[in-house]
């Protein structure tokens, strides 16, 4: 009787994991959500400036006009749009829409196909 020696991974090498498209969209959901969490104080501060007074509204405009702020906001815009679209996908799967493998992978593609161009369009407007 020959022994079957299976090579089992002792640890997960993140660079060797090939995620299917749904898994890829899913980890981006997590990353985008975490990024939004980290930037939450910044976003609340912008809300405060926008509603404080005429002067603070103008200072908000000046801040948003800075290229670095624009890049950051476009990054956050992508994070929000991806998280938003993925959230709707998850809600649909919860009500048993698009549960099987092919559909789930198609809907993951759709999330990317909606969130990325929308980021470009709205980002271009912001710029």
């Amino acid at each position: 009787m020959d022994k079957v020696v299976r090579k089992r991974p002792k640890y997960l090498n993140l660079f060797e994991i090939k995620l299917p498209i749904a898994g890829f969209a899913s980890i981006l959901h997590r990353i985008s959500g975490f990024g939004l969490f980290l930037m939450l104080p910044f976003l609340i501060w912008l809300l405060e400036l926008s509603l404080g007074s005429q002067e603070s509204f103008e200072s908000l405009r000046a801040i948003v006009a800075h290229p670095l702020a624009k890049l950051l906001l476009i990054g956050l815009l992508w994070a929000f749009l991806h998280h938003f679209c993925m959230g709707i996908r998850i809600l649909l799967i919860d009500i048993h829409v698009g549960v099987d493998k092919a559909q789930a992978s198609n809907s993951a593609k759709m999330v990317l196909a909606v969130s990325l161009p929308l980021t470009l369009i709205l980002g271009a407007k912001l710029w």
Partner: protein, 115 residues
């Protein structure tokens, strides 16, 4: 010696449900604001202030703030649970996240309250 792992399985369903309900509230708020902006609410300070200070809008914004912080709590706590192993660091991160979110919620609510 009994070597038992203590896990809190009781909060899973309520968190799952909370994540969905708060998500739906935020989708509705997003659509309301997007429609408002599309109709030019962000054009000037006066129009933006008027848009946000309506009674219904303040009600919805308050729900949004509470939903957001609750949603972030469930999501970020899951991230700490998945990736941070030492119990002490994990506990500290949970507490810091919770305190930060409560503070942020208070701050954001005050912005709406002042309108």
């Amino acid at each position: 010696m009994v070597n038992r792992k203590i896990v809190g399985a009781h909060y899973g369903l309520i968190d799952w449900l909370a994540q969905r309900v708060t998500g739906v509230v935020m989708v509705i708020f997003t659509l309301v604001v997007a429609i408002g902006l599309r109709q030019g609410a962000g054009a000037s300070y006066a129009s933006w202030h008027e848009f946000m200070s309506g009674g219904l809008m303040r009600f919805v914004t308050f729900l949004f703030i509470v939903s957001l912080c609750w949603h972030v709590w469930v999501g970020v706590r899951d991230i700490w649970m998945d990736y941070i192993q030492p119990a002490g660091i994990k506990l500290a991160l949970h507490v810091l996240t919770l305190l930060a979110l409560i503070g942020c919620a208070g701050w954001a609510v005050q912005i709406i309250w002042r309108l």
